[in-house]
Symmetry: C2
Subunit: 187 residues, 2 copies
Amino acid sequence: MIPLSYALLGLLARAPRSGYDLLQLMEEPMGFFWSARRSQIYPELARLEAAGLARHTVVPQRDRPAKKLYEPTEAGLAALREWVETPQAPAPDRDIFLVQVYSLWLVAPARALELTRACERRHAARLERYEAIRQRQREEDGDPSALRLDSPRFASWATLQRGLEYERGYLAWLRWLADAIAAQMAP
Amino acid sequence: MIPLSYALLGLLARAPRSGYDLLQLMEEPMGFFWSARRSQIYPELARLEAAGLARHTVVPQRDRPAKKLYEPTEAGLAALREWVETPQAPAPDRDIFLVQVYSLWLVAPARALELTRACERRHAARLERYEAIRQRQREEDGDPSALRLDSPRFASWATLQRGLEYERGYLAWLRWLADAIAAQMAP
DNA sequence: ATACCCTATATCAGTATTGATATAGACGCC
DNA sequence: GGCGTCTATATCAATACTGATATAGGGTAT
């Protein structure tokens, strides 16, 4: 089992889902810290089923094609629980913008500034998205600090919180970088 | 060319290196935002060379085996410069601890707290490492804000700065999470 | 009707990446 | 001489992952 297996089981543990559902959830909110494509998700569901960790039932629908609703088996829930409480080796950090920044000394300051601003826009957009989710979550759950530890809502809130702080920190750094570049261009 | 190609070129653009050197640099500092194993680095160097972006010379050494010193060609430097000033699609975010947190509601609070503390120790260790590097960098370069934009030292400083803030932010969130868990255990 | 979009599942070829293993020179230790 | 360790390069099989493509049911618009 790979991390993706447990990401999917983690979604299924909250509610039964189809592959197509999971695909959407891989965009948001799971995609904020783990992601996969169609071509990985469908085979992975088959793998989970073959391993006895998930099962599915075909659900016909009136206005759309039938879907396969997946849910974790008892064994699947147990495997998830066990994996979650075992410290995992972190996935390697990969930040392509930092690879660029590492060689930023090679390009003209004006270009470097543009690049930084472009990155800033991307992260600002992401932060807005997170804040919209937080808004929605607040409306649904009320005071988040009242959430019970054994509720999925608490877990969702905790990961969202990290997403928010990540983007805020990234933005602050990007602004610092932009300032540092701009400061050397003007005088 | 893949991101790794430009990560390696970015290192070679600063100083000629052997595959073995690059391997160490992939631990620190490049590994903080991009990484690769031996088995990917050596073939990748061959690929860069085949593409005319790098070349090597064999350098015999007195007290150790001979090494192949690589350096970027003119074409390699140009390719790097061009890639750096082109906005890149971000690599998917992957944080295995957040995958765990997403299903943290399934495990006993005491276990959840342990897990969080373990993660905290890892990130605290990382932060210390970064701060040691900053210390060293300060001793070598003096006031970092005086660094010229077109100097590799500036680029190194900028990426290190991001690493420091990332770890500080992560630690703050971990402490917040630990407190939230602990608060529900005591009363 | 037929063209287009959304839901839904699936497969394939190719590439990126990992983990294990092999080889070898040079050093120091016992 | 034999052993372990560090430097140094290389390859292999297996797996993870991407991007493209296929199929098909049902809706709506033209």
